[in-house]
Symmetry: C2
Subunit: 145 residues, 2 copies
DNA sequence: TCTAACGTTAACGTCAACGTTAACTTTTGC
DNA sequence: GCAAAAGTTAACGTTGACGTTAACGTTAGA
């Protein structure tokens, strides 16, 4: 593993070092390994995660707390995968998976609603654009006469 | 015109009265007429506007300042429409319209980029969903055996 | 080897976007 | 006609999401 220092990560992501530590503090990214002297050593996976978080934050307008819910699902899933499952625990696992499925379905619905509204918004702007181009056409004609 | 009081507007939009006054203060909505005693009297148009603003804020994750830019374009356009235009001013108007067109085009691009990223995000969630349903299928089979 | 550049924690500062409260006037139902 | 409900301005409080600074330890290169 290449040992990425926090400043490398900051530069690649376009975040500040403070923000990266803050996200770790909130639990948005897993705590990275440390060097002998206590320096944070990141991996590529951290960068992926950070970029996903930035997307959710900037593009979807999610709060960090909301993003934490999304992250939690993935984490939860990874955990389930790791565990060795005894026969008599299968039912419990299934119940957990169904819970997660419910959450994920709601998340998908949320995103779909956002997508719908965003398309509405796009149409609003298109209408304005039409008004402008119509105006341009009109004045262009007046100029000719 | 029906005279809507601020509380009516608040209830229909799901905003607080404070927020509505705040948006007026920022210039996000035009100042409504006032009653004899200074009470704000709103119209349907205000409600439309407020709903658009909420969309931009919640769904697109725009800051109020950014929304102000969007609003400004429409306002600007309305203004241009009202004005009587002398022959020798036609060129100036055309220039203004072209400026607005450029802004609107950039806004459309922004929204399209957001749409693209939101679709990406949707796919991420779908992938997780698949992992979950696969897991459920797998454990269901194990149960049978 | 030593110093400049970079890292660490911890605490306080800031800004947007409202919420809350106070002190007051207007409107409405009986 | 008068209390209660709803409106007004103005000022201060709060919360989320970091920025900034201080005080200090670590690491890399000449």
């Amino acid at each position: 593993m290449e040992h990425l220092k926090i400043d490398d990560v900051a530069k690649e992501c376009g975040l500040t070092k403070r923000t990266i530590r803050y996200y770790e503090e909130l639990g948005l990214i897993p705590p990275p390994e440390r060097s002998e002297g206590g320096m944070r050593l990141y991996t590529r996976t951290h960068i992926e995660r950070l970029k996903q978080i930035m997307n959710a934050r900037d593009v979807l307008g999610f709060s960090l707390q909301e993003i934490l819910d999304f992250v939690a699902v993935g984490e939860n899933l990874d955990e389930l995968k790791e565990q060795y499952v005894k026969i008599e625990e299968v039912d419990a696992k299934l119940a957990q998976l169904r819970d997660i499925e419910a959450i994920v379905s709601r998340q998908l619905d949320m995103v779909d609603q956002k997508l719908a509204k965003m398309n509405e918004f796009r149409k609003d702007i298109e209408r304005i654009q039409k008004r402008v181009t119509d105006g341009i056409a009109k004045f262009s004609k007046e100029k000719e006469s």
